[in-house]
């Protein structure tokens, strides 16, 4: 296991290094001069020169890359041209809200997707299987913005069951202020026993969570079903049948664990997908997360912020893959040998 872990960490490091190089290139090739963007369109040549000096734009490219990497490692991810705040501070403010939304969505997707996949595999080619396949195909193929707007219109607009947008009722900031521990609102509300904000956040989470969870839920259900059906055709499953185990018992006792291997890999992929999907959903539901920050940064050509979001999402993706690889090593010992 230690060798396996070291190898995976090495691979993760290489991917992050590649993304760092990519974000550096993004910052150099996007249209517009960062010095102009920072100093403003009416800046004097002296102000522009000062901005260039400040960002090291006159240095040779290798020196700029070295400085960029050094700054990243020391926690200096640049200053947002829009908010004039350090990018890392902005990201730390926006990220917990995104994590809250994507975390809730993935949890829902796994809790619903896996059992539904098991049900479909157990009743393969029968009515429950057909229902699961049709539904999962629908939720996978429906455009996320359409689903977001439809749920918002029906459940928030017409039926008034859930709030239209936002993370929680901001009036509560004055009547029941929240003490921050993790910056993840629902977790902080739970830890500190702030029930008004906790219930308000739960209510606000329902619709965006359903939208972000739709795609992962569908693919997790389909993958669980496919992996279980493949497992059911293996020789060792025939041996288990010959020992007299029932189909349900074979599915849950023997087949589910190996079938979860590919599902785990998929979860890492859908995690990244959910973050990107979350950008659109955050825009529709005015969720104060990375997506909203990214959209605002793009519309202001705020390159340090865009590069910061890109790098953070890439790092999260790499970490998610790493966690999945380690879990797969635990679930399937052969993965360690590969």
């Amino acid at each position: 296991m230690p060798r396996y872990l070291t190898r995976r960490l090495g691979q993760a490091f290489l991917v992050v290094a590649g993304v760092v190089a990519l974000t550096f290139v993004i910052m150099r090739v996007v249209p517009g001069d960062p010095a102009v963007a920072f100093a403003g369109p009416k800046a004097t040549p002296e102000q522009l020169a000062a901005a260039r000096e400040r960002f090291g734009l006159d240095d040779p490219l290798p020196v700029q890359l070295w400085n960029y990497v050094r700054d990243l490692v020391t926690g200096d991810w640049g200053t947002s041209l829009r908010t004039r705040q350090p990018v890392l501070d902005d990201l730390f403010q926006a990220f917990p809200a995104s994590l809250e939304l994507v975390g809730a969505a993935l949890l829902l997707a796994i809790v619903v997707g896996v059992p539904v996949g098991v049900l479909a595999a157990r009743y393969k080619a029968k009515f429950p299987d057909l229902g699961v396949r049709v539904t999962s195909m629908l939720v996978v193929s429906v455009p996320v913005f359409w689903l977001a707007l439809t749920l918002q219109t029906v459940f928030a607009g017409h039926l008034d069951w859930f709030p239209v947008a936002g993370e929680y009722d901001r009036v509560l900031d004055t009547t029941s202020p929240l003490t921050l521990w993790t910056n993840i609102t629902i977790v902080d509300a739970l830890i500190t026993g702030n029930w008004p904000i906790f219930t308000s956040t739960l209510e606000h989470l329902v619709l965006p969570t359903l939208v972000v969870a739709a795609y992962p839920m569908g693919v997790i259900a389909q993958m669980t079903r496919a992996a279980l059906i493949e497992e059911a055709g293996q020789d060792h499953t025939r041996l288990e049948r010959a020992l007299g185990f029932t189909e349900t018992s074979i599915l849950t006792r023997f087949s589910l664990r190996p079938a979860l291997g590919p599902v785990l890999s998929l979860i890492a992929l859908v995690f990244a997908y959910a973050i990107v999907n979350g950008f659109l959903v955050e825009a529709v539901f005015n969720w104060p997360g990375l997506g909203r920050y990214a959209v605002q940064s793009i519309s202001h050509a705020d390159t340090p912020a865009i590069a910061g979001v890109t790098l953070l999402v890439a790092v999260m993706y790499v970490v998610a893959n790493l966690v999945v690889d380690v879990l797969q090593g635990v679930v399937d010992p052969r993965a360690r040998a590969r």
Partner: protein, 290 residues
């Protein structure tokens, strides 16, 4: 005594029959099922294991059909031995062997491993950490765990090299169980089975004492199988007839490959008694006469 009997069994997948109207008794002394890939051997074995329901006909377990039989007793009595690759690659050897044991019986794992010639310490390993021969012994130990009276052996040695194969055959021959052996290897069947059935395109084409079948085949397909076996120091194996031809859909299924095919072969031959065995061939006497 007949423990399992297939009576007029037709088997298939998705409504398409692949085994046609087979009647076969699993009697004492071992029964062999011989045939090329796709001849229906494994399908028939699955039906004997209760893993496939016949489209028509019945599998009898003692005096009851398999459907009505006490499943718990049947599963204890009849166990499969597949190829070594049938082991769950994620389970430890001890776990695989203990799958059919209750919690209170798991202490028997070391004894079962010793019974098949393996060191009990191997229980902690996983299949990929064992050799092919060791894995095959584990598959046998796993089957023996529930104390079966009949082993259904599906190509148990075909993935092993000849020296390991010989040791596994020794082990199987030493076991106090009846056996149905499915193989395309005539040497193996000669070693373990008193009687044999040759299957072609899902039909029994010849059945009788194994020694007779191998010495003097009465069906051109059995003859072709025998002559295709390479012999050390002997002439190169002979491929008789057009070995690539598909089974005929009418008449004798083997006629498109058969070097002795005649006009009579356009009628489907029934099994008949010839020289102490059952043969489904219009030209059986000619085959025996050389």
């Amino acid at each position: 005594m007949t423990m399992l009997r297939a009576e007029g069994v037709t088997l298939g997948y998705g409504g398409t029959p692949v085994v046609h109207d087979v009647t076969l008794d699993i009697t004492e002394g071992g029964v062999g099922l011989i045939g090329e890939s796709g001849s229906g051997k494994t399908t028939l074995a699955r039906a004997f294991l209760g893993l496939l329901t016949p489209m028509s006909g019945n599998i009898w377990y003692g005096d009851q059909t398999l459907k009505k039989a006490d499943q718990r007793r049947f599963r204890k009595d009849v166990q499969p031995v597949f190829q070594a690759e049938a082991l769950d690659p994620r389970m430890r050897i001890g776990g695989s062997v203990a799958e059919g044991l209750s919690r209170g019986e798991r202490h028997r794992v070391p004894e079962l491993l010793r019974q098949v010639g393996l060191a009990p310490e191997l229980a902690e390993r996983r299949p990929h950490q064992l050799s092919g021969g060791q894995r095959q012994r584990v598959v046998i130990a796993r089957a023996l765990a529930v104390g079966p009276r009949l082993l259904i052996l599906d190509e148990p040695t075909s993935a092993l090299d000849v020296t390991v194969q010989a040791r596994i055959l020794d082990l199987l021959a030493s076991l106090d169980t009846e056996r149905l052996l499915i193989t395309h290897n005539l040497a193996v069947v000669g070693r373990l089975c008193r009687t044999s059935h040759v299957l072609f395109a899902g039909r029994v084409v010849e059945a009788g004492p194994t020694a007779e079948l191998l010495d003097r085949p009465a069906h051109p397909y059995t003859l072709a199988l025998r002559d295709a076996v390479p012999k050390l120091g002997g002439p190169p194996p002979v491929a008789r007839g057009r070995t690539e031809a598909r089974p005929a859909e009418t008449g004798c299924p083997f006629r498109l490959r058969c070097p002795l095919a005649a006009a009579a072969c356009e009628r489907a031959p029934a099994l008949r008694e010839v020289a102490g065995r059952q043969v489904a061939c219009h030209r059986a006497e000619d085959v025996l006469g050389g």
